[in-house]
Amino acid sequence: MKILIIEDEQSLAGSIQQYLQRENYLCEIATDITPARQMIEDFTYDCILLDINLPEGNGLTLLKELKQDKKTDGVIIISARDGLEDKVLSLKLGADDYLAKPFHLAELSARIEAVIRRRYMQGESKLSYEDIVIDTLARSVSVQDQPIPLTKTEYELLLFLMINKGRVVTKNAIAEHLLGRSALYLDNFDIIYAHVKNLKKKLNSMGGVIKTIYGTGYKFS
C-alpha cells in the first residue's frame, strides 16, 4: 500500500512515516503543494494525507485538482482543531475523511485503514484475525462463526485494536477514539479497563488476543 504524506513539518511527517511503515505501507513525503502535485501526477497512491496549512497555500486546492482529474486516491485531510469549518468543506470537496490536529498515530492508522478498505476492497466489508471476524457494514462480530453481541463501545474498541494489530495502543488513544476530546477530562482510565475486560470476556477463547501492556495500554496480537 502506498501512502503520500503532504505535510510541511518534516519531523511530523517523519514520525507518521515511521509509525506507518511498520505495517506494509510504503510512505512518501511531500513538504509542499508543488512537489506533491508532481508526485500525484507520477504515481497512484492508495491514500493521501493532506495537511491544509502549507507554505504555498491551502492544501484543499490539491484536493480540488485531484477530483477534477478524476483520480481515485483516497484522501484524508489533516487540519488544526479549531478549523472545523474545514471539515465540512473538505468532505464536500470529496475527501474521504478528516482528522483534526492533534491526533494519535493509532487513530490516524485506523482512519487510513478504513479509507483503504472502503476504496479497494469493494464489497469486502469483513475484517478478520484468526477466528474473529468483524463485518464493518453490519457492525457485527463473530468468533468461529458464532455471533457475539457487543455494545457499541465494545465494537468500536475491538475494531480500533484490530486495525492497530501488532502495535501498542495507549489508553489515551483508546479513550480519545471512544470519547473524543472529552477523554482529556477523564479522572482515570477505569472505564477503558472495564470495557476491555467485558470485551475479552465476550470474545471467550479469543479473548487472549487483547494483551494488556502494563502502564501503557493494550496490544492486539
Binding site: E9, A80, E85, L105, V168, L184, D187, N188, F189
Partner: protein, 445 residues
C-alpha cells in the same frame, strides 16, 4: 449624585446660610446706627435745656414748661434713678394704646436752687418701622441674588463640565477591541485639554499592550503546536519498542498524558483568540436538538466513567418542528454546550444525574452540587477554575483535564452569537442544591 447637582446644592446651602446669618447681623447694625442718631438728637436737645431752665423763675413757669413739652419730664433728683447715658425704656402711650419703646436721656439740673433730673425722650416707633422696611427690602434682594447666583452657577457649570461628561462618555464606551472614536475637543479650559490628552495617550497604550499580549498568546500557542505534536508522536513511536519494561511504559504514558493536556490548553488558547478576533463566520443554522443529541452521544462515556446519567428534557411543545437558530456557528455552539456539559460532569459527584432542559428560547445545563466558589463576575474570565472537581477518591487518579478556559470560551461563544441575542448565565438553586448554566436566545416568531 451628579456633579452639577452636588455643586449647585452646596452653593445653595452656603448662600442660604449666609443670608440667614446676615439678617440678624444687619438688624443689629441698623438698630445700633438708629439708636445712635436718636441719641445724638437727644443730646442736642439736652444742650438747649440749660437756656430754657435759666428762664424758669417760678413753679408756674416750671409746670408750664412741663406741659408745653410732652416728651419732657422733670422730677426731683432724689425720686428717680439717674442714668448718665441714654437708655431705652417702655412707657405707656398717652392715649393708653399700649406700651412703646422710648429712648431717654437724663440730665441733672438746678431749678430754682433745687436739684432736678430732666428726662427727655424720643419715640423709637418710627425706627422699628424703618428697620422692618429696610430688612424686607434687603431680604428680597438677598433672595433674588441667591436665586440668581445659583441659577447662573448651574448654567455655567453645565457648560463648563460638558467636556468632562463627553470624556466620561468616551471612557464608558471605550472598547479595547474596536477602533477608537476621536475624543471631542474641549473648550479652552486647560485642565480638560490635559485630561483628554491623557485619556488619549492611555487608551493608545492600553490598546497596544492588549494587542501585543493577544498576538503573543496567539503566536506562542501556534508555535507550540508542532513541537508538541512531534513530541507526542515520538512518544507513541517509543511505546512501540519491543523491549520496554512496564515501568518505562508507565513513565511514557504519563508524559504522553501531560503533553495532551498541554495541547488542549494550547488549542483552547488559540480557539479563544480566534473567537475574539472574529475569525469564525455565523452563516449556518444551528440545529439545537441535533447538536445536543450528538454531544450526549460523545459525552455519555465520560458520564459513564463516573456512573452519572445525562437526562435530556426536550421541549414539550412543537416537538416535531426542529429548533433552528438562524445564522449561527454550529461548531462553536457545540463547543459551548460541550464545555458546559463537561464541567457539569466534572463538578458533580459520582452517580449524579445531569439534566439538560431545552425550551424554545433556552437551554439549561443543571447539575447537583455545592455552589461555585468564585464570584459571578469572574466566572467567565480566563484561568478561573469554578470550584473543586469531585473525583472518585477510591480510585487512582491521573492528572484530570481542565485548564480554566472552558467557561471563558463558552462565555465568548455566547457573546459571539449576539445576533441571536444569546446570553450565558449562572444560577444556583439553594433549595434543590443545583448549579445551572443557562444559554438563552431570542425566540423566533
Amino acid at each position: 449624585m451628579k456633579l452639577l447637582h452636588y455643586t449647585s446644592l452646596r452653593h445653595l446651602l452656603f448662600a442660604s446660610l449666609l443670608t440667614l446669618i446676615s439678617i440678624p447681623v444687619f438688624y443689629v447694625l441698623l438698630n445700633d446706627i438708629f439708636v445712635r442718631s436718636i441719641d445724638r438728637d437727644l443730646k442736642m436737645q439736652a444742650a438747649q435745656i440749660p437756656t430754657m431752665v435759666s428762664i424758669i423763675q417760678t413753679p408756674q413757669d416750671l409746670s408750664l414748661w412741663k406741659e408745653l413739652d410732652n416728651d419732657l419730664e422733670v422730677l426731683p433728683l432724689d425720686s428717680v434713678q439717674f442714668h448718665e447715658q441714654p437708655f431705652t425704656r417702655q412707657e405707656p402711650l398717652p392715649n393708653h394704646k399700649g406700651m412703646e419703646d422710648f429712648r431717654i436721656l437724663q440730665k441733672k439740673l438746678q431749678i430754682m436752687g433745687r436739684p432736678y433730673v430732666v428726662s427727655i425722650r424720643a419715640s423709637l416707633f418710627e425706627k422699628e418701622d424703618l428697620i422692618r422696611t429696610i430688612l424686607t427690602i434687603q431680604l428680597g434682594i438677598l433672595i433674588l441674588l441667591l436665586i440668581g447666583t445659583v441659577g447662573i452657577n448651574y448654567f455655567v457649570h453645565k457648560r463648563v463640565w460638558k467636556p468632562f461628561y463627553e470624556s466620561l462618555d468616551y471612557l464608558r464606551q471605550f472598547n479595547i477591541e474596536s477602533d477608537p472614536s476621536p475624543l471631542p475637543t474641549p473648550l479652552k479650559i486647560q485642565e480638560f485639554t490635559q485630561l483628554n490628552h491623557s485619556i488619549e495617550q492611555l487608551s493608545v497604550r492600553v490598546r497596544q499592550t492588549y494587542f501585543s499580549q493577544k498576538e503573543f498568546i496567539e503566536n506562542a500557542s501556534h508555535e507550540l503546536q508542532t513541537p508538541l505534536t512531534v513530541l507526542k508522536f515520538k512518544l507513541e513511536l517509543l511505546l512501540q519498542t519491543q523491549d520496554l519494561t512496564s515501568e518505562q511504559g508507565e513513565l511514557i504514558g504519563d508524559m504522553y498524558r501531560e503533553i495532551e493536556q498541554m495541547q488542549e490548553l494550547n488549542s483552547n488558547l488559540l480557539l479563544l483568540s480566534k473567537i475574539e478576533n472574529g475569525q469564525f463566520i455565523s452563516e449556518e443554522d444551528i440545529d439545537v436538538q441535533g447538536a445536543i443529541m450528538e454531544l450526549i452521544d460523545t459525552l455519555s462515556l465520560l458520564a459513564e466513567a463516573k456512573d452519572q446519567q445525562l437526562e435530556f428534557k426536550e421541549r414539550t411543545a412543537s416537538r416535531n418542528k426542529p429548533l433552528l437558530l438562524k445564522k449561527g456557528n454550529p461548531m462553536l455552539f457545540k463547543i459551548m454546550v460541550a464545555n458546559l456539559l463537561t464541567n457539569a460532569i466534572q463538578y458533580s459527584a459520582s452517580g449524579a444525574t445531569i439534566r439538560l432542559d431545552l425550551t424554545d428560547d433556552s437551554l439549561s445545563i443543571i447539575n447537583p452540587g455545592a455552589p461555585l466558589t468564585i464570584p459571578k463576575a469572574k466566572l467567565f474570565t480566563r484561568f478561573v477554575q469554578p470550584g473543586k472537581k469531585i473525583k472518585d477518591k477510591t480510585k487512582s487518579s491521573i492528572h484530570g483535564g481542565g485548564n480554566g478556559l472552558g467557561l471563558s470560551i463558552a462565555g465568548r461563544i455566547a457573546n459571539y452569537h449576539k445576533n441571536l441575542g444569546m446570553t450565558l448565565d449562572y444560577y444556583y438553586d439553594q433549595v434543590k442544591e443545583e448549579n445551572a448554566f443557562i444559554i438563552r436566545w431570542h425566540k423566533e416568531n
